[in-house]
Symmetry: C2
Subunit: 751 residues, 2 copies
């Protein structure tokens, strides 16, 4: 340890033995190098070679001593291993430094990287990064809650009570019982009847009803669904499809949970295609009754919430038959159990049993064996049987009438995505708090670093956080449109609701999946709730309509709107015209924009909006053109839609993204508080650019963007994630989820 | 109904009232049109207008009569609504047909599509498509099973026995007990000790051991993990890290499940970064013992399988301390419970409780309060304490020694992805059989169609099926490489295992998610098993190493290999050179290829391979260049890797995709049976093109492909899905999963 020439090699020797990447072959390389060094004496060479004999490694102690010796020589101005070696012994011969670099390279050592092992420790900027509060969290909460803040706070106060402590029993009966009891408390607080007319004891406030659904979703999701089945599906089916006599008879008891009931639409063989329901309601002229009947086992009602345990009645959807003529699907109130909860004659109820989630909801099957109900049990707002036993309706088409009926039930497609999004907010709050506190790995010799400081972790969580804000504003917009809808907007809003339900629930699925993984093993423990949040919302992509099927409905609506917009032109020429004009107008407008990569442009809301609109229009026109050419080529329209199904989904997706973007932009614009505005703007930019990045294949294919631009966008997305990282915890704080509801031990703040 | 001029309008009137898309505004359009028709008398106009009075709709009966009248007029040669109308009354005036088309358009009616409602019904090609058997299923099974067929069949026979009926209790103790009993049966069948040396009662057959893990995964996944913890982690840690004396003392009892044990590595605060473990093993010279101690609550062992109920001993990873010096992490056998299952003094065991899945495994926490163990309990293959109480090891670096130890445990990263893939095969078998039998929607007036005939449903499931075959062959390759590894291949194979574990388990996650949704409500019922398959494998992306962390290890290995490959050049010039040469060589080679869209080219394995290799090389060189320039700019290497983290994942991803593709291509090439070869080739093409489609943004950005080509690939992917649809059921049959294991009612074949 005192020959400087030998010590010249210490850094290399240390690397050779300590680095876990060197192979036997590389030791040979090192030996060969030493042999060729003429400035070393034979004795020195032998000494050195003895230190790289793979059969006789240095002792661990020796290795520690080398490291100490090196540490004493390293200076702040050193830039390479060669610099350190030269601090032991200076070899000035001509190409020696180059030879040395070649050796390093042959050993697979990346100079500057390996050098880091010896560099005096300073904090890296990655390790210094941390959470800050750069805006007023309460102000942001106020923006999110809007006018519903009072009811939201009321519900939060209720679900924070001791009696709402989570049920941890895995016994399904215990859990179902607890959920029922919770529902009763909520009914007693007048939350269940929130949407019903005041005349029947209700709150007559639909906006508040949705806010209740959403806020309850910070708590147990079985509770939300049980609540939604009772007060939404069962109660609102009476309100939407029935008439005064039904309201008077039932609504008060439904709203107080005196009369638990079901919404019995889906059958085993008919879920998405409810038009094909097979249950029959046959009119009996003799005694003015209907006979409700399940004609075959696959026509049983299935997945019916409240059926397995608590339901006393159900709104049953069945084909109305009068004198052998089928008048299409109508709705009837059918008693299931008596007041002692004994199942009535002709009714057979099954239990769906254990499910992936929502096990606090008693889903069941219902079969009817010639069950007789009085005539007044037909929910007769849209169709009725008159005193002569004749069918009457203002809507002559069975098809149209049925879809009009379904249209009145569209509220479910608002409550569900809002509930889902609340679950995603819980997941993000838990995962982001954990990522802010959990430390793992760090710079060589430094302390460990919060995992939220890692770029990939930011990339995994922050775009989902941004999108959650986007979807929040999108759902607020949907709610407002629904509440204030005019007659001629019904179809547009139904399509919007179907689309937003799909868009939001898919987002929630992806978010909770990512949150689980981002929390590692902790995310797998039930106590941290991410698993149940995921499992409970898992079915949200299916119920109120399978997302993929709904997206096709949305696309069909868009295509039909598209045709109407261009109604003044000759039909044959329209599609080509629109298609071509969209293309040319854009490329005329933006000759340079396809390549612009400056931040001012890439962060401008005009650029985002134009890109989203362009994409939406082009995809729509292209799908219309494709369908037309398929049908013109003689294909059946059913086959044609099937061939273009993939494109149909794109049509709907592009439409929804544009709608959501616009709402986010509007929200940023309307925000007065400068700090909130600033952070919302960043979130908006991240949402917008993440979607563009996701769709970059399309934009490049289309020519709307070129490679330098999409590359710049990728970089900017990473940068925005980095910039937002200090705000992440505060942003989830703005969701203001009650701590007792979050409950996850990993989400407990360490002060 | 007898004035032909009036009847001319019947098809339009029918559409107006039956179509559920017309709005009030559109009725006005129709009224205006009628007013302008001079060929109608005033009386006729009044009659017609009365039929489109929104306040007085036709009766449902009337609507039916219109439809019957129309149906009688429609002829096979009719092509439009105008044709049908003209069959009632012919109006020859000049531009009348054009006026009519304009009207249709104003009403938002897409001519040919609306016409479909009246067209005489013929089966559409979508509805006629169905399952066929076009290859010998057993031959394909033989290809998948390879040389392990005998052990696979043995295991299948065992898990098909009555005693392996699934446990449905939600009581965690019952479930854990059942899983233990199953393990005992497997041990009695000599499956547990399969990998151990014959000398200690084992089968000395690692290939068979992995096949056992894989095949068991068709049954309950808690069983697989419990089995893996006992015989793999616990047993193999003794075998890999211990020496003869440990083998003799423990292996037989471990293999027979006489001695249940744990693998206690992970701590609450150290999961991914196991180098930072804090548990200590302090050597006591006086009595030649080690004191195992948990220095703080967050250093407790966590998630340890077999700990909460059944484990009697554990391999504990702890920092070895001798005379105050820390010699890095080593492994020690520590007794936990006595033969009466009483926890020993100084040991505190906690229960991880309910988890998202795998509730049949008793994961727990372990804390050590100065627990004394004899010196011989140190697993001393790589390091030991000699009789003088001095540390001895052939590997001087603590770091390197630890990673060498970890390297011997890499088998877990082979067993886990193979187990996961088996779960995905179960999910796909269930979802594809269901999709083949479940009918929903259909052509107007026709019967409903299997949902697997829908393009989107094919798109959702078939690429995942293709990728499952690809991953299967990739994992076979990994297994072979592992079993036949040479010393200098260790690092490459460790990286391959880490990568394949991530690649496979992410694929499984995506697959089971899609299967759940593809089965709708049925997929949510526990009886159909998709939920538990998903939940049980959910943690596979975390255990044996978090996927995201592992992918970075893979990338670092690739970067280091990359540097070594070009070792003969001057270090400074290499990266730029490689980067540029890769670019130019490709563009020189393929001046036209960037635009080729013919099927011969797009379906050629040469094209696929070149594209995958090009992508891998370019991404690797680009990441190397980026890192170099970040480090050269003065950034700490830790910061640099963080900045480039996103690219690191791409490096690993591109590498794994290329490896998997190559194995799939080799398998196709080596298949003799022509029918099997044909279907494997189609699956291979679907795998290859789906990955290219997924990465099309990158290929377009890079310029390796241009838009016409990526568009042609998208079309071809849809076409391949369609082509493979008839084979889908047979392809899942080739997995040959025992029916009693599949168990899902929706997967029962309807004969």
């Amino acid at each position: 340890m005192d020959n400087p020439k030998i010590n010249f090699f210490l850094p290399l020797l240390y690397l050779a033995w300590s680095d876990d990447l060197l192979t036997q072959k590389e030791f040979t390389v090192l030996q060969a190098f030493i042999h060729t060094q003429n400035w070393l004496s034979e004795a020195e060479k032998i000494d050195l070679l003895s230190k790289i004999d793979i059969a006789s490694p240095p002792s661990r102690m020796e290795l520690s001593q080398w490291k100490s010796a090196i540490d004493q020589k390293v200076l702040r101005e050193h830039k390479s291993i060669f610099d350190i070696s030269s601090a032991f012994y200076k070899n000035d011969s001509g190409d020696f430094e180059l030879q040395f670099l070649k050796l390093e390279n042959d050993l697979g050592i990346l100079g500057a990287e390996a050098f880091g092992i010896f560099r005096p420790k300073t904090d890296t900027f990655t390790s210094k990064y941390q959470t800050e509060v750069r805006f007023d969290v309460q102000k942001l909460t106020a923006i999110l809650d809007g006018q519903q803040a009072p009811i939201i706070n009321k519900v939060k106060a209720i679900i924070s009570r001791q009696e709402f402590q989570y049920e941890t029993s895995t016994d399904i009966d215990v859990y179902r019982g607890k959920v029922y009891d919770w529902c009763k408390i909520l009914a007693d607080e007048n939350l269940g009847n929130m949407a019903y007319p005041k005349k029947y004891g209700g709150g007559e406030n639909i906006a508040d009803y949705f806010a209740v659904m959403e806020t309850l979703s910070y708590h147990d999701l079985s509770l939300v669904i049980k609540f939604g089945v009772q007060f939404g599906l069962w109660g609102m089916s009476i309100f939407s499809l029935g008439t005064e006599k039904h309201y008077a008879k039932y609504l008060k008891d439904v709203g107080s949970l005196q009369l638990p009931g079901c919404f019995a639409m889906t059958e085993t063989h008919h879920g998405s295609n409810v038009k094909g329901l097979e249950t029959t309601a046959t009119y009996n002229h003799s005694n003015q009754t209907f006979t409700i009947h399940t004609p075959n086992p696959d026509a049983q009602k299935e997945y019916i919430g409240n059926a397995a345990m608590h339901g006393q009645m159900a709104t049953v959807f069945a084909k109305l038959i009068i004198d052998g003529t089928d008048y299409g699907v109508n709705a009837f109130i059918v008693p299931l159990r008596d007041e002692n909860m004994k199942t009535l004659r002709g009714i057979t109820i099954g239990d769906c049993g254990q499910k992936t989630g929502l096990n606090g909801v008693d889903n069941g099957t219902i079969r009817f064996d010639n069950v007789s109900i009085p005539k007044e049990n037909m929910l007769d707002r849209f169709a009725s049987v008159n005193d002569n036993g004749e069918f009457e309706s203002l809507i002559p088409s069975d098809n149209r009438r049925f879809f009009t009926m379904l249209g009145t039930l569209v509220g479910g497609r608002i409550g569900i995505p809002r509930s889902a999004l609340a679950a995603a907010k819980s997941g993000l709050t838990i995962a982001i708090r954990y990522a802010d506190q959990r430390r793992q790995f760090g710079p060589e010799g430094g302390s460990e670093v919060p995992i939220l400081n890692y770029r990939m972790h930011q990339r995994r969580l922050l775009p989902l956080l941004a999108k959650s804000f986007a979807v929040h504003f999108g759902l607020q917009y949907l709610t407002q449109r629904y509440i204030n809808k005019k007659d001629n907007e019904a179809q547009e809003i139904e399509a919007l609701a179907a689309g937003m339900k799909s868009y939001a629930t898919w987002h929630v699925r992806d978010t909770l999946q990512e949150c689980r993984e981002a929390c590692g093993g902790k995310g797998y423990l039930s106590e941290n709730r991410i698993g149940s949040l995921k499992n409970d919302t898992e079915i949200y992509t299916t119920f109120e309509g399978d997302n993929t099927v709904l997206m096709q409905l949305v696309a069909k609506n868009r295509l039909s709107e598209f045709r109407k917009q261009f109604g003044e032109m000759n039909a044959l020429g329209i599609i080509n015209y629109v298609f071509e004009s969209a293309k040319t107008s854009i490329s005329e407008k933006n000759p340079i924009a396809t390549r612009r990569t400056d931040e001012i442009h890439l962060l401008s809301s005009e650029f985002h909006h134009e890109a989203f609109v362009y994409r939406e229009k082009t995809i729509l026109a292209s799908a219309a053109k494709r369908l037309k050419s398929l049908i013109d080529s003689g294909l059946d329209s059913y086959d044609s839609f099937n061939v273009a199904q993939h494109q149909m989904l794109d049509v709907a997706q592009a439409y929804l993204e544009r709608v959501v973007l616009e709402q986010f932009q509007l929200e940023v614009k309307n925000t007065d508080d400068l700090q909130c505005k600033a952070v919302l703007e960043k979130l908006h930019n991240l949402y917008a650019l993440t979607q563009i990045e996701k769709n970059k294949g399309w934009f490049l294919e289309d020519g709307y963007m070129e490679a330098p631009k999409t590359k710049a966008i990728r970089k900017l997305v990473s940068q925005l994630c980095w910039d937002l990282r200090p705000d992440a915890v505060a942003l989830t704080d703005a969701f203001a989820i009650p701590e007792s509801c979050l409950a996850a031990p990993i989400a407990v703040r360490q002060l």
